[in-house]
């Protein structure tokens, strides 16, 4: 390669450089994937535990999760169980409910498989269901923990990918989350739980929106309505049992 500044040298040089860079990154991405996946799973367990009001941190989450969440289900909109994972084994269906990506399932309409996590803690049964919706700038998601009466909220947890810090991002703030505890969800077979701005007309079903974050708050409200209504049929089957 005689001339460093010739076009052919520059083409060759840049091609080799990017191919080498891509190869290095591909190897790193594949090699580190298992560790990263583990971290994401632990984060998901932490979010489920936190929604159910169980103390945990990154180190203990996995064990506490195994202890409390002995049963994971996936149900369809008709209320039928399509997948069951109990005591570390998949006993029905072909995907562990924990591994279901809710966002993809919701897009499938009536075919959707909806996870339900059943937690036994302090002698009580808590049903935790994941929720997913849209905020102002991107997706918002979370978990809603429901008490044995299948109507009272035990706790919630929300997360987001890109809401404004200090405004929309405040949905992750414990102060916002804690007001949900004790609220009722269903009334006459409809989801009445909502986030409202200003005057609450029904304390039993409504939580205060975040000031200055109307769109994110509406997003959370719609998310609760859309996702929780999918479980109405399933909860009916539980009640008749």
């Amino acid at each position: 390669m005689a001339n460093k500044e010739s076009n052919s040298y520059i083409f060759m040089y840049s091609t080799i450089l990017v191919v080498v860079a891509a190869a290095v990154l591909a190897v790193a991405a594949v090699g580190l994937k298992p560790f990263q996946k583990k971290n994401q799973e632990i984060e998901k367990m932490q979010q489920l535990l936190t929604a159910a009001g169980i103390d945990n941190d990154a180190k203990t989450a996995e064990n506490i999760y195994k202890e409390c969440f002995k049963q994971e289900l996936a149900v369809n909109k008709k209320g039928l169980q399509v997948s069951v994972y109990e005591n570390g084994k998949l006993t029905k269906g072909d995907i562990r409910p924990f591994d279901i990506e809710l966002a993809k399932e919701l897009a499938k309409g009536d075919e959707a498989m909806l996870p339900v996590y059943i937690c036994k803690h302090d002698g009580k049964t808590i049903y935790v269901v994941p929720v997913y919706g849209t905020g102002l700038y991107g997706p918002v998601w979370g978990n809603v923990a429901i008490a044995e009466d299948l109507n009272t909220v035990v706790g919630v947890l929300f997360d987001h990918s890109g809401e404004t810090p200090g405004l929309g991002a405040e949905i992750t703030n414990p102060k916002f989350r804690e007001q949900f505890a004790g609220k009722q969800i269903f009334d006459n077979g409809e989801v009445k739980l909502a986030v409202v701005k200003g005057n609450k007309t029904d304390e039993k079903f409504q939580a205060d929106a975040v000031t200055g974050a109307t769109n994110t708050s509406n997003g959370v409200s719609n998310m609760l309505k859309n996702c929780l209504s999918n479980y109405i049929e399933y909860f009916k089957t539980l009640k008749t049992e």
Binding site: E5, S14, L17, A28, A29, L32, N39, E43, A58
Partner: protein
Amino acid sequence: MANNLKLIKNPLSKENPIAVQVLGICSALAVTTQLKPAVVMALSVTVVVVLSNVIVSLLRNTIPSRIRIIVQLVIVSMMVILVDQFLKAFVYDVSKQLSVFVGLIITNCIVMGRLEAFALANKPLPSLLDGIGNGLGYAVILIIVGFVRELLGQGSLWGYKVIPECFFEAGYVNNGLMTMPAMALILVGVIIWIHRSRNKDLCEK
């Protein structure tokens, strides 16, 4: 050898990338609310600047000058993505806290600045030392700012409470302003002030 030692020592004080060259300020403001992310960020930047310095220095005689900036950018981005992947795999909580700022190391002026100013014209060993020196110079400032901000803003260090409860009972309150980026800028200003008053030759005439 004396020259090599200078490469590490100078960026710590007389040629400090933040306090004297005023580079990399953006990230210094954003990630210093607590000590831990500040230290992880400082380490990440050090690793990136050291590795890219060495690679660029090894390649310096082959890089066509017309595309040298792009070549440097590819190398820096590769290092940054690697660091980001490692953080996600091994210190997940910190990587969430640092969020976009790890990716933004690519645009950290210190990294590109050292490649252009030093690695392109020097052998790998001095480039390595220069990278370490500048990384440490950046780290020193980040750690000082992170230390002060976490201590006064949240009453803790590395996440552990260090200000005893009895202080709070006696009426002590954490300074909320310390958790704001503006306060980091003021702290960096104070550091520059003290630094220059001790090194008069740095003052502009």
